[in-house]
C-alpha cells in the first residue's frame, strides 16, 4: 500500500527550507562576495562544512542542540513552550543547516559575476543601495537565485542522515520519503521501497534537467 504522507511532508519540508534559505543566504552570500578578509574566509569555510561532513555528524550535533537543555532547544522552549526534536520545525532547522551551502554558493558566484561596474554606474545615476540591489543586482544574478532555490529544494528532498537522526520517524509528522524508503527496505518490503525510489529518482532527474534547461535559456538571453 502506497501512503502519500511521506511525499507531502518531503515537499513541504523542501519548500519551506528553500524559501528560508533564500532569505538567509542572500545577505550572507552578498557579504561573502563583497568582502575579502580573514573573517569572511572563516565564515565561508563554516558555510561549506555541510558539504564535507557526514550527515550523521550534523544530525548528532543537531540532536544535542535541539534537546530541551540544548542551545537551540532551550531557546525555542523559552520562546514557544514547545520542543524541537521530532517536530516538523526541528526538521526545518536541520535542513536549513544541511542545505545552506547549496543556497549560498550559487548566489555568491552570481554576485561576484555582477562585479562592481554596473553598481558604480547605477550609483552615479543616484540610485540608493536598495534600489541598486533590486534593479541592478537581482536581474543580473537571477540565474544564481534560480540555482540556489532549485538546488536547496532538491538537496532537501534527498536528505536522509539528518532527518533520520533528529526526526524520530513519526508517520505523518516527520517521516520523509528517504526515511520511509529505508524503513521499507529494512522491513524487506522491497516493492514499496521500489515505488518510492523510482518516484524520487524521476523527480531528481526532472529537477536537474529543468535546472540545466533554464540555465541554458537564461544564458542565451544574457550575452
Amino acid at each position: 500500500m502506497i501512503d502519500l504522507a511521506p511525499l507531502w511532508i518531503t515537499l513541504r519540508l523542501a519548500g519551506t527550507t528553500a524559501l528560508i534559505l533564500l532569505v538567509l543566504a542572500t545577505p550572507l552570500a552578498w557579504w561573502l562576495a563583497r568582502s575579502r578578509n580573514r573573517f569572511s574566509t572563516f565564515i565561508e569555510a563554516v558555510v561549506a562544512l555541510p558539504l564535507v561532513l557526514p550527515p550523521t555528524v550534523l544530525g548528532y550535533y543537531l540532536l544535542v542542540a535541539l534537546a530541551p537543555q540544548g542551545v537551540l532547544g532551550s531557546g525555542w522552549h523559552w520562546l514557544t513552550g514547545g520542543r524541537l526534536a521530532f517536530t516538523f520545525m526541528g526538521l526545518v532547522i536541520g535542513s536549513v543547516v544541511y542545505s545552506l551551502p547549496f543556497a549560498v554558493q550559487p548566489l555568491q558566484t552570481a554576485f561576484e559575476g555582477v562585479g562592481s561596474g554596473p553598481l558604480q554606474a547605477a550609483a552615479t545615476l543616484r540610485a540608493g543601495p536598495l534600489d541598486r540591489f533590486i534593479h541592478v543586482v537581482l536581474p543580473l544574478a537571477r540565474r544564481g537565485f534560480l540555482s540556489a532555490l532549485v538546488l536547496s529544494f532538491a538537496h532537501t528532498v534527498g536528505e536522509f542522515g539528518v532527518v533520520l537522526m533528529i526526526g524520530g520517524n513519526i508517520p505523518g509528522v516527520t517521516q520523509v520519503l528517504s526515511v520511509a524508503i529505508y524503513d521499507h527496505v529494512e522491513a524487506l518490503d522491497y516493492h514499496t521501497a521500489n515505488v518510492y525510489s523510482i518516484g524520487l529518482l524521476a523527480f531528481a532527474f526532472a529537477v536537474m534537467w529543468l535546472l540545466y534547461t533554464l540555465n541554458r535559456r537564461h544564458a542565451r538571453w544574457q550575452p
Partner: protein
C-alpha cells in the same frame, strides 16, 4: 634490470599477497557477523573462546537487516548472530545457512528507561500518568525491541493512548540515543544498554517477560562453514559453556 629479474619481481608481487591471505586464513580462524546490540557481550565471549582454544575469531558488526543483505550477496562470514529469529530462519529456508544449526543464543530484555527520574523508579504508573511529551521506542516494523515495546504497551492497554507521543528510533541504538540526548524523557530500550552504561537501578524498569513475545536472538551456521570445525566449536561454546552463558546473562539478556 634484466628481463628475468623483472619478471620474478612481478610474479612475486602477484603471488605473495595471495600467499599471505592464505596464511592468515588458517583453519582456526572464523569470521562472525554480529548484530550491533550484542557487540560488547560477544567481544568478551570471543576473547574467552580464543584463550581457551587458541583459535581466532574476527567479528563484524552491523544491523541485522544490513548483515542479512550482505550475507545474501555473498559476504564471507562463517556464523551469523542476528538480533531476531526472522533473518536466520530466512537464511536457513533459502539454503544460505546449514539446516538445523539455528538456535536462540540470548533473549533480549526490554527496559523502560527514564534517566531524569527524580522521584520513584519508573513503572506502569509512569506510563499511565503520561506527563511526558515523547516516549521513544524502536520501530516496531523493523526492530524486535520495538515490536516488544508495542506489545508491552498493548498488553498494558496503553497503546492507543500513548501512540500520538511515540517517536521511533530506526533501531534500538537510535532509540537509546533519543533518550540519552534528553530529547525524549523516557523510552523502551534494551536492558543490556542501560546495564553497560551504568544507569542507576532506580532509573529503569525491567519489563516482565510475560508482557511481550520473547525477543529471540538466533545464531546460524552459514553455508560456507558447513564443515568448519572451529565455527561449530564456537557455536557450541556459545550454546553450552557456563562461562559464555554467565557473560550473556550478566550483560542483561536472559537465556533460553
Amino acid at each position: 634490470m634484466n628481463h628475468a629479474r623483472l619478471r620474478t619481481i612481478l610474479i612475486s608481487l602477484i603471488v605473495l599477497p595471495g600467499l599471505f591471505s592464505w596464511v592468515s586464513a588458517r583453519a582456526g580462524d572464523i569470521d562472525v557477523a554480529v548484530a550491533a546490540n550484542f557487540t560488547s557481550t560477544i567481544q568478551t565471549v570471543a576473547k574467552r573462546f580464543e584463550t581457551e582454544t587458541g583459535n581466532r575469531v574476527s567479528l563484524s558488526f552491523g544491523s541485522t537487516g544490513k548483515l542479512y543483505a550482505q550475507i545474501v550477496h555473498g559476504a564471507p562470514y562463517d556464523i551469523f548472530l542476528a538480533a531476531d529469529k526472522r533473518r536466520p530462519r530466512l537464511l536457513e529456508a533459502n539454503g544460505e545457512a546449514v539446516a538445523g544449526s539455528r538456535f536462540t543464543y540470548a533473549r533480549g530484555r526490554l527496559a523502560l528507561w527514564q534517566p531524569g527520574a527524580k522521584t520513584a523508579k519508573p513503572g506502569r504508573a509512569t506510563l499511565e500518568q503520561a506527563d511526558f511529551a515523547h516516549l521513544a521506542i524502536a520501530n516496531p516494523k523493523t526492530a524486535p525491541y520495538g515490536l516488544a515495546a508495542q506489545q508491552t504497551l498493548q498488553h498494558l492497554g496503553l497503546w492507543k493512548q500513548l501512540e500520538p507521543r511515540l517517536v521511533y528510533g530506526e533501531n534500538i541504538a537510535q532509540t537509546y540515543q533519543f533518550v540519552a540526548s534528553g530529547n525524549a524523557p523516557l523510552g523502551f530500550v534494551a536492558l543490556s544498554q542501560v546495564m553497560t552504561t551504568h544507569s542507576p537501578k532506580t532509573s529503569y524498569w525491567v519489563i516482565p517477560e510475560n508482557l511481550h513475545a520473547p525477543i529471540e536472538q538466533q545464531a546460524v551456521l552459514l553455508k560456507r562453514a558447513n564443515h568448519n570445525a572451529t565455527a561449530a566449536a564456537f557455536l557450541n561454546y556459545l550454546k553450552t559453556s557456563t562461562e559464555a552463558r554467565r557473560i550473556i546473562e550478566a550483560a542483561g539478556y536472559s537465556l533460553p
